[in-house]
Symmetry: C2
Subunit: 440 residues, 2 copies
Amino acid sequence: MTRQLHLNAFLMTVGHHEAAWRLPESDPFAHIDVRHYQELARTAERGRLDSLFLADSPVLWNSIGRRPAGGLEPTVLLTALAGVTRHIGLIATASTTYNEPFNLARRFASLDHISGGRAGWNVVTTAGLDAARNFNLDELPSHRDRYERAAEFIDVARKLWDSWADDAPLGDKANGRWGDDSKIHPAGHVGRFFKVAGALNVPRSPQGHPLLVQAGSSADGKELAAKYADAVFTAQQTLEEAQAFYGDLKRQALAAGRDPDHIKILPGIVPAIGATEREALALEEELDRLIKPEYALRQLADTLRVSPADLQLDRQLPADLPAEDEIEGAKSRYTLIVELARREQLTVRQLIGRLGGGRGHRTFAGTPEQVADALQHWFENGAADGFNIMAPVLPSGLTAFVDHVVPILQSRGLFRTEYSGNTLREHYGLARPAVILEGA
Amino acid sequence: MTRQLHLNAFLMTVGHHEAAWRLPESDPFAHIDVRHYQELARTAERGRLDSLFLADSPVLWNSIGRRPAGGLEPTVLLTALAGVTRHIGLIATASTTYNEPFNLARRFASLDHISGGRAGWNVVTTAGLDAARNFNLDELPSHRDRYERAAEFIDVARKLWDSWADDAPLGDKANGRWGDDSKIHPAGHVGRFFKVAGALNVPRSPQGHPLLVQAGSSADGKELAAKYADAVFTAQQTLEEAQAFYGDLKRQALAAGRDPDHIKILPGIVPAIGATEREALALEEELDRLIKPEYALRQLADTLRVSPADLQLDRQLPADLPAEDEIEGAKSRYTLIVELARREQLTVRQLIGRLGGGRGHRTFAGTPEQVADALQHWFENGAADGFNIMAPVLPSGLTAFVDHVVPILQSRGLFRTEYSGNTLREHYGLARPAVILEGA
């Protein structure tokens, strides 16, 4: 069989474009209505997508004026989606900086049981002082410390997921012995950030380990991904950048002793789909027209660590911006934005338009055929194992992708026409991990 | 209308009796199967019960031999139950000692949105060194400290739930103004245990505050309940004890400036229901016969802080047990067990039988009529506002209660025949709290 694409639906409120909520078709309160997400999940499953995904950060943005603000907690929301779907994988973002491993490992194992093996965890370290200040801290922990904590957090979570052998439960009614205590292996973890003594209080889940996803593209982020990630979401603007990232990460995975094929790399794409190219461009233009630049300007200034007064809408970025290594959060996104602006000599207004569509992810307007071509081109040229589909408007953009782009990819033999497995790991072609005991 | 009973279904694996899983009818793995709980939730809703409830502790018991061990995390599991029910309240236990307020307030607000206003939180401080050792601690924090943290935790959670005014979201497409920033009130909390600066990242939920439940009956527990709880679950063995507890807590609520009618007190009852009294007793005897005493003996010794060798099955408890104020966890349960054994001069074997049925909660075997009489007697004699129904075997014990006891209570005018409200607060006759701003 031809090598197959992996497709993930990245769901965000009523669309990834920041002005999507202002369209006549959009319900501005859909992002707190579980039925909106249930409809999206059913649509993505109808398209036989591998998974759907929810981003998250434990903080409220500095303004609720700009776009639908706040949202439902992802592990809880995905549980509601598990009930209305049967196959599609369910990936929730959760922070290693602001959670405890025991609690989070338990929730993901629970979601894995409830969904029949469809849980995935997008591991984030959570940039931003505002989040730190919701968790007893006055300062953001350093980038390096956050990533060291993330690595140790995953180690602890794996110990907990492996703390029950698959055959620990017996259910032996006759002898009154429900389980075999010798098959329980307490975590016994003592590290720099965590001490976790016991075994998890839930039996091993269908996937053993929920799928691990990583989405930071800094040096620390790639190091973490190379060691642990089953899938990687990344923002890449050009084929060349995507190829470089792809090759680099696969090499790092190999160097870390892993099969490079066991880490699936999915760049994001924001496809504006139209029956004609003109219709697609018109949608993109309508959305950009609805952006209010004052919000975006303030966010851009925050990201660039400058004052909003330093940015002028019809000029290019100031020349004297800080270097990436002076940035303590969202390093790779910072560099991507600066490089995009410099490379294309964008004014601040143009840059805001580009970011408003996909927050640094690649945007693409075209017909279903053109979108399919764009995906296939990267997929066949060493830039991607699949894609993170970020519809600019939801649900309509996902429906268009499923109804018009997916059939083209299927007809080209690049994408499944039916699910062949039941678990998220199976969709991504990854084995169920065996229990690995320390020292065994 | 006659004063109405409130009924909560306390769900636990395949029943509250520790040997329930050994019955031929029981699926020993049902406690990790969401369909089992979905069936129970539908049954409880068919009976028009106010709510269902899940206990929890972030620790695996010291043996998985005794009974079905581990379980699905309650906020996640209740989300799955929200999807198959429309009215019944959904109450999850979560620890204030081993969570962060921002994360937990968010999850309960999310469940409240997803369920249309049916979320409740049973606030626990989590006794036991084993749990502490899963969260970076070498020692269990003192009882007093745990309760002080719990009170501050609830204060922070309420600030977060009130951090969005109900009218903060605008959805004003024409002016591109999704929400009104002046209606956001950051928590700005600085206390002994927590610093939480920001507003919650989810709009205010249907109930405003999820229902707050408290279940510890120690002096500290009652103080917390009197101040904060909307409902209280409690273990009471005799009418006199239950009356004393009921009167005491209502007085404390009044002293704390609250309307005593706004704190609903629900003692637990483990009803073994039979078509005849003989049949009910036979079920109870069959269950007790299936208890393996070695597990229960070890647990009893742990609870009493003695060695298992100090307990002899056919003798009474040793005379020289510690006083309650020397106990750092589960104080009130300790005293209840010791007093039960002393009052009824039970041997250790008999005590184990009583505890195996309901872990200190009142057990009662009888016909539906007798069970209804028992509930009505306490309800009409100042001992209860309703009951926590703890079926010894699930699902059969809940089905029997709903099909045979509930209709009797309804025919006596003591219990609703249809839901009159949509939210959990409405079922319990409690108002939706207004946003309370500091200093306002």
